[in-house]
């Protein structure tokens, strides 16, 4: 990923290009490859994912391995990022934490994205009564206090990490659905949608080929905003007792413990915070790059 840019495949003959297919996504990939910032973002995220996957094999210590004699020690040669108050290695805990945080971030956001985009597009395109019913349901779920919702889930299902995805997904798709519906409402009045109808295309084809691709800009921006908020939400839920339990760790949990001891042991906040920030930067660069790459108007080849 960090290597020098590969030379563009020579695509001069229009016939060759056409036969090779002309999907939006291929063009987007070609454009994305020219965007250094986005590529770096993508690289950082892939790097983090690989580390997270390999953590059990490469972590220097066990995540629950304590050294009470050491206590909270600043960074040293043995413990690169220091240790927490129980003498647990911070690097190890951040690495294990990334497994939870990245998984929650991507899966919960992915679920929210899928449900939200479909729900919003269908409501916006169907219009009328269908739209009214679908969006009122969204309003009702919005109105439900998040805390009560969580407590209810805990009472019914007990503690379970899967509930984490469920709870987060259940709240995050609502905003996505609203954003997409608003987009689709204005799109469906455009003449190219009418043209698609008069060509006899089915509703599903119109939604898939004409509506959803044109909502991507705001959706991608909102997605890059959702991932970090989901990661922090996980910390809050874990703090409430839903989700992961100590001695397991996640970035959100590490940060919230770090905040408590900020004055005495600043590195307990600094390193998890830094990791989260780098991830967010990378996500934002990638998101911006994707948005531009998926909009043929944004950049000229």
């Amino acid at each position: 990923m960090f290597k020098a840019k590969q030379p563009e495949p020579v695509l001069t003959d229009p016939l060759v290009q056409a036969v090779k297919g002309t999907s939006l996504w291929q063009d987007a990939w070609i454009r994305l490859r020219k965007n250094t910032f986005a590529l770096c973002g993508l690289g950082v995220i892939l790097f983090l994912c690989i580390i997270a996957l390999l953590t059990p094999f490469i972590a220097p210590y066990g995540y629950e391995q304590q050294n009470l004699l050491l206590g909270a020690a600043p960074p040293s040669a043995e413990h690169w990022l220091g240790t927490d108050i129980f003498g647990r290695d911070m690097l190890t805990r951040i690495m294990y934490g990334s497994r939870v945080s990245l998984m929650v971030g991507f899966i919960a956001t992915g679920v929210a994205l899928l449900i939200g985009v479909l729900w919003g597009t269908i409501a916006g395109y169907a219009g009328g009564r269908v739209d009214a019913v679908m969006m009122r349901l969204v309003d009702i779920l919005y109105a439900l206090p998040f805390m009560i919702f969580i407590v209810l889930l805990m009472v019914v299902f007990g503690r379970n990490i899967l509930l984490l995805f469920l709870a987060i997904g259940a709240v995050e798709w609502l905003t996505m659905a609203r954003i997409v519906r608003g987009q689709v409402l204005s799109l469906r009045r455009q003449e190219f949608v009418e043209a698609a109808v008069s060509l006899g295309l089915s509703r599903w084809t119109i939604i898939r080929r004409h509506l959803i691709p044109n909502t991507l800009g705001p959706v991608i921006v909102y997605t890059t905003l959702t991932i970090p908020s989901v990661m922090l939400l996980e910390a809050f839920l874990s703090f409430l007792g839903l989700g992961i339990q100590p001695p397991q760790s996640s970035w959100g949990l590490l940060i919230s413990y770090g905040v408590e001891t900020m004055e005495e042991y600043p590195w307990l906040l600094l390193f998890p915070g830094l990791t989260l920030s780098i991830t967010l930067f990378a996500l934002n660069f990638l998101g911006d790059g994707l948005r531009d790459a998926l909009d043929p108007r944004a950049s000229k080849n």
Binding site: A18, T22, E191, S198, L201, T205, R209, P213, P296
Partner: protein, 556 residues
Amino acid sequence: MPLLEVDNLTTHFHTREGVVKAVDGISFSVDRGETLAIVGESGSGKSVACYSLLKLIPQPPGKIVAGRALFEGRDLLQTDNKTLQQIRGNDIAIIFQDPMTCLNPYLTVGEQLIEPLIYHRNISRKEATQRAIEILGEVGIVEPEKRINSYPHEFSGGMRQRVMIGMALIAEPKLLICDEPTTALDVTIQAQILGLVKALQLKRNIAVIFISHDLAVVAGVADKVAVMKDGLIVEQGPVDDIFYNTQHDYTKKLLASIPEGAKPETSNPDASNIENTPLLAINGLKTHFHDYSGGWLKRNQKVIKAVDDVSLKIQQGEILGLVGESGSGKSTLGRSILQLVPVTSGSVIFDGTDLTSLSPAQMKPMRRRMQMIFQDPYASLNPRMTVFDTLAEPLLYHGLATRKTVTEQVLALMDDVGLARSAIRKYPHEFSGGQRQRIAVGRAVSTKPELVIADEPVSALDVTIQAQILDLILTLIDKHNLTMLFISHDLSVVRYIADRIAVMHHGKLVETGSTESLFAAPQHEYTKKLLAAIPVADPARERERQAALIEPIINS
């Protein structure tokens, strides 16, 4: 000394693709009481030139590189922003093209009218309101003392443009810049607005710069004409010289592309034979919309009769022109035929099948046989689909092509509509308006339809492009033996292309007849009015007509 003397004005735009010389060293002058028309196609730099004078162009990317613009002896290009603010609106006012977007929807027109007065003249609110009422009366708004408290959406397009003119004139400017003031308006309204501007100009002895793409519109109002192309003035002079003694080739081309006269006699004589079974027969078609703005209660609902009991027949191979002003229901009629809007009652019989009785699934195979070309080539193409995607989609979807043959078929289609084969991978935004309309035309004929409904297909295009697209459409009609319903507000365009014309007014069909007979001897009052309002590219005739319109305004 003229009121405004512009010398070697040069404005460049710095874009990603390099420097665009939008205005490349032009010189012109206007005197008090004089009208200078700047004519050119979109992108010729005519608007940028005028906006540069008041520094109304975005800077950057725009940059006024060189030039002088002496207004009453003061160089506008050298003045600081504060002085310029005083000059804008006060000494030089602008009327913009689109009256729909130039008024703030959240303020009453009165509020917007008195704003410049209070700002520039420093008079009391009461006096300003009084002045606003006077000016509204002057621009022809009935009951101005009541209407002053109305919001912009309560006015029609023409009325809004009158308000805009009032707003421009209220501070009594010395120079009025009109940027395509009638382009967004209907032809009958256009005549009224042109008359109004002319009359007010005579009354107040102000200078007018009139920007337009339409030589015919300019013929009646201008004293001098400057023709612009690619940032340069290619020809300028007194209006009669430009029209009667044309020097430059480009001006000649512009004049030649104004559609004039009727289409040559069709090679298809049986088109006029009513005895044949028509390809399309509409009987008592009604399309009504409910207006819920009064609330959802039944008694508060207003019904808008967009199409009200229309019956029409189109023969195989015929081109029927459908004419009417905006809001006459002509577009709704076109969409009703294609079942793009729900029909209230009546029948649409296409080749023996009543389309109104079909389910969406039954309609699908019919859709292949009837297609539509839309007005705005910027909105009718999916911005995220390449030419290939756009043209291949209907072919693949209707099984007219296989994955193997589709590229060849798309390329053939592109040849048909005059697009370069190398453009196959480009996205719509990379094309000009005319080329985009070619893509849209290509898409419409891709399914080999029998009936094509063209909804104002050339209204958004420049005159020279307009002529090209019309010729393309005529060629394709011939080649594919198409039947066409050609919807337009522009009678000269319809006259050029149609065999028969139907005139629509307030949702009803008021007159139908062959193109020649309708133009020679219109029967209905409305048709007569419509025909009388068409501007012609002949200054002498236009001035005569203007005089008749101006007289009552000046005397009032």
